[in-house]
Amino acid sequence: MKQFAALLRKDNQPVRYLVVDDSVFARKNLIKMIEMFGGEVAGEAGDGLTAIAEFNRISPDIVLMDITMPQMEGIEAVERIVRQHPSARIVMVSSVGYQENILAALQKGAKHFVQKPVKPEVLYEILRYVLSDDPNAVGVPVAMAGEHRS
């Protein structure tokens, strides 16, 4: 299995993620990758409404957000979260990757987009990029994944 340098926060703590997808299966897949990157899953949600509540409760560093979900779709959830928390970092993760969807998500405040099936190396680079936009909040990779807890 490919090894990744851990993505850590400025305070050397693991990056905290909120994973939002209506498929338990897809969430597990993303969680596996987050662990490969040395991150910590702070919360999970299966729809947009729960995602908003979870964001308010746990204030994650990054949200991985599906688009097509019951109750409230991902793009609407992005809009509501960013309206309340303008510095929220949200990466859209969807199998539907056409221009209109991507543009709509970015216009509502998402930072990036990754298409399913997610390749770990692609997600890693996107997370690095998204985390690097605020050097005061999150540090650069400093150790191999798994080493930071020792």
Partner: protein, 167 residues
């Protein structure tokens, strides 16, 4: 059969399975079908409506679904009806999502409906006036079937075929 509508689904399925299962896949059988579709295992049916219309069925046995789930999870997954449903739905969503992206980039607009899972003994509805293409894809986890029936919306076809009157 409009191959330009079918090809994106074949390409997407190939790419999704190869990437998800981290191994090459191969189309081992391909046939045309106009009868009600007889499932081989658990099937997810996704309907498409818009500039082009039809439906796609992704079909795999519960044993293959559990192997796929284990491969994706990176650990042995215990077989259960929920695991099988989740796996079939997620694979279908990924294949359809990627296909829709390819077709949308070609200028087609349509709505994709959520997958309906079929696990009981009844056959699935036939594809009305459209022939279906049934593809068997060999993967490291076992065979996965894709049944694709797509056609242009009738109104669009008439518009496209309309020839300007000549003086």
């Amino acid at each position: 059969m409009r191959m330009e509508l079918i090809q994106p689904f074949i390409n997407a399925a190939d790419a999704v399975f190869a990437e998800s299962l981290q191994a090459p896949t191969k189309i081992v059988d391909l046939e045309m079908d106009q009868e009600a579709y007889r499932r081989k295992g658990v099937a997810a049916l996704i309907a498409i409506k818009g500039d082009i219309e039809g439906r796609v069925i992704l079909d795999l046995s519960p044993e293959v679904a559990v192997k796929v789930a284990s491969q994706l999870a990176g650990v042995e997954v215990e077989a259960s009806e929920q695991v099988v449903r989740e796996t079939v739905c997620e694979m279908a969503n990924m294949v359809i999502g990627n296909s829709v992206t390819l077709l949308n980039d070609q200028g087609f607009h349509f709505k994709v409906f959520p997958p309906e899972i079929h696990m009981d003994e009844t056959g699935l509805a036939g594809s009305a006036d459209t022939e279906a293409l049934v593809i068997c894809i060999e993967t490291p986890c076992g065979e996965i079937y894709l049944n694709i029936a797509m056609h242009y919306l009738h109104r669009r076809r008439q518009e496209r075929n309309a020839v300007p009157a000549l003086d």
